[in-house]
Structure formats: structure tokens, C-alpha cells
């Protein structure tokens, strides 16, 4: 393939993806959440685009962290891992072999998951420590205890999410691999070009449902928002981000929505993101439909505690295994 053609394809697709992703949180908030909640809602450009732009021009505040620079760099690491996933989904990158495979994608997704552990353990926000009450005062029930920060709690929850919460999406990723007999994206796309989209098979349908549940868990959306639920940890790992670093948090979330939508298009529809092909419209449509569905579910659900989270994740994982077995058959 002509290198300049490849460069245009890759660069153009990434830029388009970035532009689209800036609108996805707005669509989710304005057209779904706000409508269901019978309120006007924010301008559609506000949550993804204008909020991020505004934060770029705010004064950066030094976070209360033992390693503030590392803490601040983590949203950028998250963005890069999402960017790498999108990069290797674009057809000209399939020549890179192992990097354009499911194993590499799982690796990049894991980076995205692991950064919350670091974020949580590197943050020491005033919300959990800077109290005006001395706990040694008369009547204090348990003085001199080791005190957890709210972010520590979110860090431990991130561990649990890595341990069991992300099972569904990883199982779902391998349904197309089982059907096509290869973990390489090139082969999965080629298989679907011949046999039709994986989504239109029984295993594909079940896998897609599991993928969607995993998508919501990975994006920490209600009811799976244990990492940043307002009822206890408030924002958890994100609490201390300010200015441009917070802007990256917003951008990364939108970009991850787009990337995971493209990942679904590649694995279940056989349509890779490519700005020079009409198939990009399918990618954009999937990337828009997923947040809309997610917003509908989250608008009608209370936040889960582990009591609800474990069974739902376990059921989704079992469903995923069933999809894998069906794919083998």
C-alpha cells in the first residue's frame, strides 16, 4: 500500500474520530439523559467539547499527591492507550501483525483499566483528609486509626474491576476470534467479508450483548459506577484533576466511547474505521448508538453496590462463555 495513502487514512481517521468523540458525551447528556429526566440539559457541545476547551484555559492547581506529575500524566496515558487501540483498528496498520491483534488490544485496554489504580493511590484530596475536627477530641469513638482516603477506596475498587469487572468485555472480544479462527484483526475482518458479520449469528448476538455490558463497566457508567459513585467516593480517582488534566479526562472518556464503538464495528460487523471508505459512517453510527443505549440504561438504574455488581458481572461473564461455546459449535 502506498505509504502516503496509508498516512492520510490513519491520520484522517484519528482526527475524525477525535472530532466525533467530542460530541458523544453531549449527545448522551442532552438527547438522552436530559430528555428522560424531563429537563432541558446542557448544550450538546458542552460536556465533551466546550468543557474540555474551558479547562485548557484554567489555572493548573497542584494536586495533593505524593507524585503530582505522575498523577497528572495519567489521563494522558489513558488517552494514548485509547488512541493506540483506534490506530491499530485502522486497516493500513494491520501490516504491523501482532500489534493489530486482539492480544494487543486487550493489553491497551488493560492499561486504561490499570491507570485508575494508580490515580486512586496517588491522590490525597482534601475531601477525605483536611477535616477541621480533631479526632482525638472528647468522645471520639476510635481515635488514632489509619485513615483511608476516598481515592484509596476507589483504587481498591479499580483492582476489583480488573479482577472481575472487566471479564465480560474481554470474553466478548474473543467471540469473533473463535469464529474466524484467528486473533488478528485482518483475519477477523476478512472472515466477515466472506461469511457476513459476526453480529448476525447467535454467538454474535449474545457476544454483542455481553460486549455492551462490558462497555458500560469499562466506562464506569451508572449502574456500574463503583469507581466514582457520588454516594461515597464522589469522583474517586478523578477528584484532584484540574485545568488541562481534567480536560484530558473529558476528552479521553469521549474518545474511548468512539474507540470502543469502532472496536465493536471491526469485531462484530467487519467494518474497520477508514476515513476513505463509506464504512466510516457505520463506525460513527455504532459509536453514537452505544452511548445512547448506555444513557438509557443508566438513566433508569440506581448505582450498584457489590451485592448487585457481582451477580450482574458473573451473569454477563457466563453469557459470554456461552457465546464462546456457541461460536465453537
Amino acid at each position: 500500500m502506498d505509504p502516503s495513502y496509508s498516512a492520510v487514512t490513519v491520520l484522517g481517521t484519528v482526527i475524525l474520530g477525535l472530532l466525533v468523540s467530542l460530541w458523544l458525551p453531549g449527545i448522551e447528556r442532552k438527547f438522552v439523559h436530559a430528555r428522560i429526566q424531563q429537563r432541558i440539559g446542557p448544550p450538546v457541545s458542552s460536556p465533551g467539547l466546550m468543557a474540555a476547551l474551558k479547562f485548557f484555559y484554567k489555572k493548573t492547581v497542584r494536586p495533593s499527591s505524593p507524585l503530582p506529575r505522575l498523577y497528572n500524566s495519567l489521563p494522558i496515558v489513558g488517552f494514548i492507550s485509547a488512541l493506540l487501540i483506534l490506530l491499530f483498528l485502522i486497516p493500513p496498520m494491520y501490516t504491523l501483525g501482532a500489534l493489530a491483534s486482539l492480544v494487543a488490544i486487550v493489553g491497551f485496554l488493560k492499561i486504561e483499566e490499570v491507570i485508575y489504580v494508580f490515580m486512586g493511590s496517588l491522590s490525597r484530596s482534601v475531601m477525605s483528609m483536611g477535616m477541621p475536627f480533631p479526632d482525638l477530641a472528647r468522645g471520639a469513638k476510635h481515635p488514632d486509626l489509619q485513615r483511608y482516603f476516598l481515592e484509596d477506596l476507589s483504587s481498591m475498587r479499580a483492582f476489583r474491576l480488573i479482577a472481575f469487572g472487566s471479564f465480560p468485555i474481554y470474553i466478548a472480544l474473543f467471540v469473533p476470534a473463535v469464529m474466524s479462527g484467528s486473533i488478528f484483526l485482518k483475519d477477523i475482518v476478512a472472515y466477515q467479508a466472506v461469511h457476513g458479520p459476526v453480529l448476525f449469528t447467535l454467538a454474535g448476538v449474545v457476544g454483542a450483548v455481553v460486549f455492551f455490558i462490558g462497555y458500560m463497566i469499562l466506562l464506569n457508567e451508572y449502574p456500574f459506577a463503583i469507581l466514582k459513585t457520588k454516594a461515597d467516593v464522589i469522583e474517586g480517582p478523578y477528584m484532584e484533576y484540574a485545568a488541562r488534566y481534567r480536560a484530558f479526562v473529558y476528552i479521553t472518556r469521549g474518545f474511548l466511547m468512539f474507540t470502543l464503538g469502532c472496536l465493536f464495528s471491526v469485531l462484530f460487523l467487519g467494518v474497520p474505521p477508514n476515513i476513505l471508505s463509506w464504512g466510516i459512517l457505520v463506525n460513527i453510527a455504532v459509536a453514537a448508538v452505544f452511548p445512547i443505549l448506555m444513557a438509557i440504561f443508566s438513566a433508569f438504574a440506581p448505582v450498584f453496590t457489590f451485592k448487585q455488581f457481582y451477580p450482574v458481572t458473573a451473569a454477563a461473564s457466563v453469557l459470554g462463555v456461552l457465546a464462546l461455546v456457541t461460536a465453537f459449535v
Binding site: H33, I36, Q37, Q38, R39, M127, S128, M129, M131, P132, F133, P134, D135, L136, A137, R138, A140, K141, H142, L145, Q146, R147, Y148, L150, L153, M156, Y222, P223, A225, I226, T229, K230, A231, D232, I234, A299, F300, A301, P302, V303, F304, T305, F306, K307, Q308
Partner: protein, 378 residues
């Protein structure tokens, strides 16, 4: 705690400022693997010294100050404070004024309960219900503005009756009727949707229960007490409520579900009372100014505020207030809030506190300053 000593190693401190708390208060949760083993709630962040400011003020001025105790149940504070003076001075108020006070009181109960339900759903993570409930509450707030001229501090009761500006003409009566019809319809729709949602029921059933025995031991009051099966409501002992028929709602479980349902069902009872008051609203004047100021001893008065038993007392000396004491229902309920969290997940702990409908801004009535160097207290 089952009577056995547990070694607690970890504390999670929430507040005084926390997004799940609408007011500043301090919660210390002592946890093991995200399960709360003990809890401690500290208040005092919002102390404004209102009783101290009331000391020596002319009675009517001091009464109007009590309205600032709370931004949710401001009307009932003023009502009770005025009742103290009326009891002490032996003032009989016109029947029409009594009815209008009750309409205001029940509208306030409606908006307090709707706020409770909205906040409960917010803590539950159910943003949609929270928004919709706040939307329903707007109707009540507008009705209160219609009657009193303000949405939060309507300043209706005065010694001898109510302010003449809050008298109800035909137009106001009609608009209140329409308003409560709308509220009833919307709350019914909410209740049906809420109770039939298995995910919500799974999140609130059996969560943070308080038994009847513990509720009595911890001196719980108001709807939180009635949610444990205790049939106690001060409104039944208030003579002004005699002309009205209403049920005292009780639930048995004492958990979050029972508490939420309590408020929903109480909303319908308040609507019932308002309808009766509007239907039978007597004619005549709304204020009796024929009373005379005189010195009294300490006079006490209790009313059923939206959150439970509200106590006001003071003495009158040369037309001025002496020794004012206010005790709000949340003060009684703090013990239950601490107790309810124990044994439950951290995420449910705030729900356990919220189920007791805390109003810490009105609770902050006293402050103690401790010098840690030599420990003197004042």
C-alpha cells in the same frame, strides 16, 4: 456489633463537605473490607447561634428569627415559636387562621418529603427519579409562594393568627386545589414506577434497617420512627388538627424501603388534610390583635415537623425572649443514623443516614469549644 469487641483498623471520613450530603456534617465510618463496623456523626459545622441572638429580642422579632433555623421546614419553626408565645399569653386564634396555618404546614411537609425522596434517589444513584421529584416539588414551592409571597421563608404565622397578606381568596384556593391534584397524580405515578422496579427494590430492601426496639432505645422521632412500626404522631395531640381526618402511616421494616415508602404515603395524607382544610375553610378574620404582652415563665411547645417532633421553648420578660431553646427532630435521629450504617456497605451508609432524613443545619443548636492543650470546655 453483637456484644463482642472488634478491632477496627481503618477509618473512612466523609465530609463535612461531601456530594452525597446536602449539608455539612462529619461522618466517620470505621470499615473492614468496605463493610461499616462502626460509625460516628459529628455536627456543629453550621452553628449560627440563633438562640443566643434571640435572647433579649422582642418576641415577634425573635419569632421571625426562628424561621431562619431551617431552609426546608422554616414555616413549622415559626409556627411553633409563635405557639409558645400564644400559649404563654393565652391567645386564642381565629379558626380561619388555624386552617391556613395547617395548609401551610402540610404544604411544607409535602415539599420536605419530596425533597427527601429526591435526595434519597440521588444518593441511590437514580438521577432520573431525583430530577423528576424535584420537578414535582416545584409545584409545592410555587403554591407556598402564592400564599406567603416567598418560596422558602413565607413568614405566615404571627401571634394571634396569620399575616393578612397570606389570607386565601377564591383564586388562591382554586390554584392550591389544582396544585395538589397535580402533585397527587405525579406522586402516584412515581410510586407505581418506583415500587415496581426490581433494581431499585434490590438496592433498598433490607438495607440499613432499624428495629422498633432500637428506634425507641435511640429516641428516634417522626417518620423514621413510624417506619419501624411505632404509631406516634404529634399531630394527633395538636387541637388544631382535630377537625381533620387523616391516617398515621406506619411501616414495619425500618429499612430504606420502608422509610421511602413512609414519605410517599404521608404525602397522600397531607394532600387529604389540605383538601379538607380548603373545603371547610371558615370565614372571618385571620388575626386577633386584642392580646396583651405580659411576662411568662418558660413555655414549651411541640409540633410535628416534617421530620418529627420539634420543640421550642422560651420565657417572656418585658416583651422580650429569655432562655430560648430549640430542639429539632434530627437531633434525636442522629443516633439512629449512626446505628443504621453498621454492618452495611459504604455505598449504603450514606443511604442509611439519608433514610433518617437528616437536617443538620437545623440541628446545629449548640457548640462546644475544646482547647486541646489543657482541655477546658466552653
Amino acid at each position: 456489633m453483637d456484644g463482642k469487641e472488634e478491632i477496627i483498623e481503618t477509618e473512612i471520613a466523609m465530609g463535612p463537605v461531601h456530594s452525597a450530603a446536602i449539608e455539612p456534617y462529619r461522618v466517620r465510618l470505621f470499615v473492614e473490607d468496605e463493610i461499616v463496623r462502626d460509625a460516628e456523626i459529628t455536627v456543629g459545622v453550621n452553628h449560627r447561634g440563633i438562640e443566643r441572638i434571640m435572647e433579649g429580642l422582642p418576641v415577634e422579632k425573635a419569632n421571625s428569627l426562628t424561621e431562619k433555623v431551617c431552609g426546608i421546614c422554616s414555616g413549622v419553626h415559626l409556627w411553633n415559636s409563635v405557639l409558645v408565645a400564644e400559649k404563654g399569653l393565652g391567645v386564642e386564634i381565629p379558626e380561619r387562621a388555624s386552617y391556613i396555618r395547617i395548609i401551610i404546614g402540610e404544604l411544607e411537609r409535602l415539599h420536605s418529603h419530596l425533597l427527601y425522596l429526591a435526595h434519597g434517589n440521588e444518593v441511590l444513584g437514580h438521577e432520573t427519579f431525583s430530577m423528576r421529584l424535584f420537578y414535582i416539588r416545584e409545584t409545592v414551592m410555587e403554591l407556598l409562594r402564592l400564599i406567603g409571597g416567598n418560596r422558602v421563608q413565607y413568614g405566615v404565622p404571627i401571634i394571634g393568627g396569620i399575616r393578612p397578606r397570606a389570607d386565601l381568596d377564591e383564586m388562591k384556593v382554586q390554584r392550591i386545589r389544582e396544585g395538589i391534584d397535580l402533585i397527587e397524580e405525579k406522586v402516584e405515578a412515581f410510586a407505581e414506577r418506583f415500587t415496581s422496579d426490581p433494581m431499585i427494590m434490590s438496592r433498598i430492601t433490607g438495607v440499613c434497617p432499624i428495629s422498633r426496639k432500637d428506634a425507641l432505645r435511640l429516641h428516634v422521632t417522626g417518620p423514621t420512627l413510624r417506619a419501624t412500626g411505632v404509631d406516634l404522631d404529634i399531630r394527633r395531640e395538636m387541637p388544631c388538627y382535630d377537625p381533620f381526618e387523616f391516617e398515621v402511616i406506619t411501616q414495619d421494616e425500618g429499612d430504606v424501603r420502608a422509610n421511602l415508602l413512609m414519605r410517599v404515603l404521608e404525602i397522600f395524607e397531607s394532600v387529604k388534610i389540605i383538601r379538607q382544610a380548603l373545603r371547610d375553610l371558615p370565614g372571618g378574620k385571620v388575626v386577633d390583635r386584642s392580646w396583651e404582652m405580659q411576662d411568662t415563665g418558660i413555655i414549651k411547645s411541640y409540633v410535628e415537623a416534617p421530620r418529627g417532633r420539634l420543640y421550642h421553648s422560651y420565657a417572656i420578660e418585658d416583651g422580650r425572649v429569655r432562655g430560648s431553646v430549640i430542639r429539632t427532630p434530627s437531633m434525636s435521629n442522629i443516633g439512629a443514623m449512626q446505628y443504621a450504617c453498621i454492618g452495611h456497605h459504604i455505598t449504603d451508609a450514606q443511604l442509611g443516614i439519608v433514610q433518617c432524613d437528616p437536617c443538620f443545619t437545623c440541628t446545629d443548636r449548640a457548640i462546644e469549644i475544646v482547647d486541646l492543650s489543657d482541655n477546658p470546655r466552653r
